[in-house]
Amino acid sequence: MSDRVTVAKTYKLYIGGKFPRSESGRSYPVTDSKGAFLANAAQGSRKDARDAVAAARKAFPGWSGATAYNRGQVLYRVAEVLEGRREQFATEVAASEGVALKKAQSLVDTAIDRWVWYAGWTDKIAAVLGSSNPVAGPYFSFSTPEPTGVVAVLAPQQSSLLGLVSVIAPVIASGNTAVVITSQDRPLPAITLSEVLATSDVPGGVVNIITGRTAEIAPWLASHADVNALDLTGAPESIRADLQRSAAGTVKRVLRNKASEDFSVTPDLSRIRAYLETKTVWHPMGV
């Protein structure tokens, strides 16, 4: 008997909890670090991005309205499913990033721990970033953090899983919904993450994952009037300034972290804080 022929995969996008093909019908080959064929990924278009924003907007009231405790539980569940797929992630990270399997395994472990770290923050954000304010008047004044809305995330180009997790988790932990453009040349761990999200308790539309050319899709997200914030981490250097300019057209929050960010160190709260607004309430008292 001859050797078994492996089943080559052609992946699809992850939008609104479903796995649609790209509206454009395009796909592109994904190779490992040495140029060997791994799989075909869907090459998303601006219309896929538009659909993803609509899905994220639709999911926003439910996700931001869920209790922080509930969001935490959902994120812990994702970590459990991630753990179950540890081997698959390690293989994909090793192939994508060209690192040894042992190193890849440690990257996957750090990524899962990172997810748990952010999951733990969900019900603590309000206590840490909120406040009761001393005011000169018969009012009880207090401030609470509120999620910004729909966040467009350009995922890091190099760190295909740890970097990806480090940019998605802080967005959704506080109740935002996300449209993610994956690493262009290393999308496989992101695709597997979408399968994890689809099979855990995350409501459809909270995270939408689009594979394809970052430079092609990013400008449409930067100018989209229904996107509230933009993470430039994975943006190509050549279009960063343009993206910021068009994001200013609809006063988006823009996170300008460098593409060279080191994701191996435990982060601080800055990524969570970047996608939060402050709501202050003045409540009359003593009458």
Binding site: R57, W220, S223, H224, A225, D226, V227, S246, G249
Partner: protein, 318 residues
Amino acid sequence: MAAPTTLPSALADAVRDESSLRRFLHGLPGVDQVGVEQRAAGLGTRSIKKAAKLHAIDLAISMVDLTTLEGADTPGKVRGLAAKARRPDPERPDVPKVAAVCVYPDMVKTAADELVGTGINVASVATAFPSGRSTLDIKLADTRFAVEQGASEVDMVIDRGAFLSGRYGQVFEEIAQVKQACGDAHLKVILETGELVTYDNVRRASWLALLAGGDFIKTSTGKVQPAATLPVTHVMLQAVRDWKSQTGELRGVKPAGGIRTTKDAIKFLVAVNEVAGPEWLDPHLFRFGASTLLNDLLMQRRTQLDGHYSGPDYVTVD
């Protein structure tokens, strides 16, 4: 039975009495279900882009019957809707105004006062909308009340129970009497195609409504699913086209309910052009009964002109 207008002899024969009406309606050719669905789906794939799309959007806006038919309607909400009808996108005065505002009879006066001199019609549902389950007297009183209050268009529902049990004469009589009660007001006859089950029934109901004097035939109340679908609208467009070829009169079609996106609206416009003809691409002969559609049309319009996607934060909440 009395024919509402002078009809060619074949049609005049049809309305002579109940049995000839039945013979006529059952003599209509059957609808090829697979064929009409395939044709509707085929026309739905037409690609309308750029300048043509912008033109289609403006045309669709001018065809909207901006509708609010909820138990929770208030005069304030109707006034807000009227303001939106006059100036759909306040930042862009070149956006055409809508065709009409459609409300319940008790809100007609509020809407009419707001729309004086604007050229926007006030449409009112009547005849025990949406079920149509009441006596003829009450339905006529309902219609007269709406017209007295200032409605220039009346949307009536047919008695689907009577239609489905084959009492065509009764349905005919009801439509004819409501038409009389309307006076100068335009009459739109709601067939509620979601309850008529087959395309053959839709065709019969369309002809029945045209024979009885309806100025428009309208798909649905919006309260029953499925509401306006493309194939059903195809069948109705064929009816008005055939009506014109037999009588020379132009009658209109109004799909209502379930049309929420610009893409859907453009599919309907393509169907109008291809099935009935370009003559019907006119707010006097084709309307959209819709509430959320208008916002999507405005957002798409902005997208076309601004070169980037717009969002619901930039249109009114209603």
